[in-house]
């Protein structure tokens, strides 16, 4: 009895801890951002009105609430600059995720088929680049891709091209940067699901007349779908909001939503619009997450 009581408290704390975390570090900050998104710009410090004065009494609070409006959200819909930014972000994220899957799956598959002791080494090789600063690695790509950079030099030396190609400030450069940076996030969850698959299942498939190719599509791939889902989400969501890579490697004719947000915030000093952009981005990203969650839930129920 007494033992149960000792354990009851920490257990209940453990149960609410994640919610507490969510409230403190997600919902409260999100509330601030949402409030700013509903405010108007002002030449002031901070650069928006109204400000809530907690000591101003009830009337001041009501007056401040009256000043809130959804004007900024209307602006986002009316100006296709924002819509195009969102669309570009989603397209880039979708294309990147597809490329990442195409490259990451075979790599993860190969790793999972390695003998045990080689798997650890392969895993290290995937993770080691993280030990270098992300920015430095992107700058290195600028070096490689620039006019007289490594890539052009090699291609010229191999006589594959006769004049240097333009790589930098193109979408190709941006995709190279994104795929390079996010590949580990795709490989690791895929590797985790593939490595734990029972090799006897493939033998069973072969025994029942499946060619290696059929066995892959009928057994290995369907069983790796949770890994595919996790890897795709782990890449898709941050790529949608990616700012640094497109800013450094892509051209400036089409902006991703992260760049637009940065412009609104730092260049235009329009905090309310920047906040509105952020809120909409969040809603856009939460939607596929919820969908994924529901699909998984349904799968569990169907069992």
């Amino acid at each position: 009895m007494s033992a149960r009581r000792i354990f009851a408290r920490p257990a209940s704390f453990a149960a609410i801890a994640p919610y507490l975390w969510m409230v403190l570090f997600f919902l409260v900050p999100f509330g601030f951002v949402l409030k700013i998104a509903l405010s108007q710009t002002a030449i002031a410090q901070p650069p928006y009105v109204p400000l809530f004065d907690l000591w101003g009494g009830r009337e001041a609070t009501v007056a401040a609430f009256d000043q809130l409006s959804i004007e900024n959200f209307k602006l986002l819909i009316s100006d296709n600059l924002y819509i195009l930014s969102y669309l570009r972000s989603l397209t880039v994220a979708l294309v990147s995720t597809a490329i990442l899957l195409l490259i990451g799956y075979p790599v993860a598959y190969g790793m999972a088929r390695l003998p045990q002791r080689w798997q650890a080494i392969a895993m290290m090789l995937v993770i080691v680049p993280f030990w270098t600063s992300f920015l430095i690695r992107i700058y290195a790509w600028i070096n490689i891709l620039q006019h007289d950079g490594l890539l052009n030099t090699v291609l010229l030396k191999l006589h594959l091209i006769s004049a240097p190609l333009v790589w930098l400030s193109t979408d190709t450069a941006m995709y190279i940067g994104i795929v390079y940076s996010y590949l580990p996030f795709m490989i690791l969850p895929l590797f985790a699901t593939l490595a734990k698959q029972d090799p006897a299942l493939l033998e069973a498939a072969a025994d029942l007349g499946a060619s290696p190719w059929q066995a892959f599509w009928q057994v290995t791939f369907p069983l790796s779908l949770p890994g595919v889902g996790a890897g795709a989400l782990l890449c898709f969501i941050p790529v949608v909001g990616e700012f640094v890579i497109p800013d450094l490697l892509a051209g400036s004719n089409a902006l991703m939503i992260g760049q637009t947000l940065w412009l609104e915030f730092f260049t235009n000093k329009d905090w309310p619009v920047a906040s509105a952009v952020a809120v909409v981005l969040l809603v856009l990203l939460v939607a596929p997450l919820l969908l994924y969650e529901r699909l998984q839930h349904r799968q569990l129920e169907a069992r």
């Binding site: 029972d198 006897a200 299942l201 033998e203 069973a204 498939a205 072969a206 025994d207 029942l208 007349g209 499946a210 060619s211 059929q214 066995a215 009928q218 057994v219 369907p222 069983l223 069992r303």
Partner: protein, 428 residues
């Protein structure tokens, strides 16, 4: 038994259609029929007239065995997992490969399935060398030790997997799956996923899946190892019945000698990669080829000794532990002078006084005097350990044919006696 409940539920209702299904099963499952390994472009699967003569004479050729294993060796580095094994298996046989873990029995089975390639020797199926045939092209199916059911597929789809790969027509697949489900009594569970089944049910799905393609040979790798004792015994009976009904060739790998003896018509005993003896269960038990087999298969008392003189069909062997023992004179002369006399515990009788030597010869019985040290009551029989005056132990097992208390108690002085004809002489 709670885990088997859904079975009973299902059996209560649609158990009836089972028998007609079996009738339909029989003529088709002839060994000759699946020899065309379900060609991809044969959706109709007509029952051709060619199958009719096979129905009259089920065994293709009495001389040629269905499966011939010729001097097969499989090496892993320097280790010979399977060492020059030669074995013939006839069509329709229930064959067991018996041996301790690591003896190479599973490796041999995996070579038959095509997951391992022999380093030496040949494997002939129906007279055809199957070495170059890939696993997915062999007319052989395997039931895996841990079943290896596809976790993402339902019971129905697991069973249909092999049929789909064979390019069977949808309607035919449906019929065959229903047949298989009825055969292993899984009605009502078709839509379940493997993780929603009990161990016994999973075992049945694995069996149905491996039988669905009607293989020429079914390989079973420790098929009952994961089941509890009661379930294992009932499943043994079902497997035997199934094998008899389908007339299919079963090769089962097991480390459990009781299981092998219960189910198989012939048993091959393997040790350290070698096939030591191939015999019927009775011969294996009554005339084991070596000391090792005698000890591995059942219990046995062993006495080492010097071969002495033969007289009136009796051979005297001077043992260190049990004095001179008389055995029936072997048909062929012994090659060695130091041999082991072996006697199974159930052939050793106990009595308070030595039995009167009936007849003329003093060699009619072997008599050993000693004190009972242990009495193990096992229900059907009781095992006594008798410590001889030499210090050696003789075990005697007596059937409890009546409901009286044990006839002998610990520390009682008894005579253990047995007939020379019941003794075995083992040279190695």
């Amino acid at each position: 038994m709670a885990e088997e409940r859904p079975d009973n539920e299902a059996a209560a209702g649609p158990a009836k259609p089972e028998s007609p299904v079996i009738e339909a099963e029989k003529p088709e499952a002839l060994p000759a029929e699946p020899s065309q390994p379900e060609p991809a472009a044969a959706p109709a699967r007509p029952e051709p007239a060619a199958a009719v003569p096979a129905r009259i004479e089920p065994q293709p050729e009495p001389e040629m065995p269905l499966l011939r294993i010729e001097g097969v060796t499989r090496k892993f580095g320097n280790f010979r997992a399977v060492d020059r094994v030669t074995l013939d298996i006839r069509a329709g046989e229930f064959f067991a490969l018996l041996g301790p873990s690591g003896c190479g029995k599973t490796t041999l089975l995996r070579m038959l399935a095509g997951f391992e390639t022999p380093d030496e020797g040949r494997i002939l199926l129906d007279g055809r060398d199957i070495a170059p045939v890939l696993p997915h092209e062999r007319p052989v199916n395997m039931m895996f030790q841990n079943y290896a059911l596809f976790p993402h597929l339902s019971v129905k789809d697991n069973i249909a997997f092999g049929l789909k790969r064979a390019g069977m027509a949808k309607a035919d697949i449906r019929t065959r799956v229903a047949e298989m489900v009825a055969l292993v009594k899984l009605e009502g569970l078709e839509k379940r996923k493997p993780d929603q089944l009990s161990g016994g049910q999973r075992q049945r799905v694995a069996l149905a899946r491996s039988l669905a393609r009607r293989p020429q040979v079914l390989l079973l790798d420790e098929p009952l190892a994961a089941l509890d004792k009661k379930l294992r015994e009932s499943t043994q009976q079902e497997l035997m019945e199934l094998q008899r009904r389908l007339g299919m060739t079963f090769i089962v790998v097991t480390h459990d000698q009781e299981e092998a003896m219960t189910m198989a018509s012939r048993i091959g005993v393997m040790d350290a990669g070698r096939l030591d003896q191939v015999a019927t269960p009775r011969d294996l038990y009554e005339t084991p080829a070596s000391r090792w087999i005698a000890e591995f298969v059942g219990d046995i008392n062993l006495f080492e000794g010097q071969v002495g003189a033969a007289e009136a069909g009796r051979l005297a062997i001077a043992t260190r532990d049990a004095g001179t023992l008389y055995v029936a004179e072997p048909r062929s002369p012994l090659a060695k002078s130091v041999v082991s006399v072996a006697i199974r515990p159930e052939k050793v009788k106990l009595s308070r006084r030595a039995p009167a030597a009936e007849g003329t010869s003093a060699h009619a019985f072997n008599r050993l005097e000693g004190v009972i040290t242990d009495v193990s009551y096992l229900g059907g029989h009781t095992t006594y350990r008798v410590k001889l005056d030499s210090g050696a132990i003789v075990r005697s097992s007596m059937a409890n044919t009546t409901r009286i208390v044990d006839a002998y108690a610990a520390s009682q002085r008894v005579v253990a006696w047995f007939m020379p004809d019941d003794c075995l002489v083992l040279e190695q």
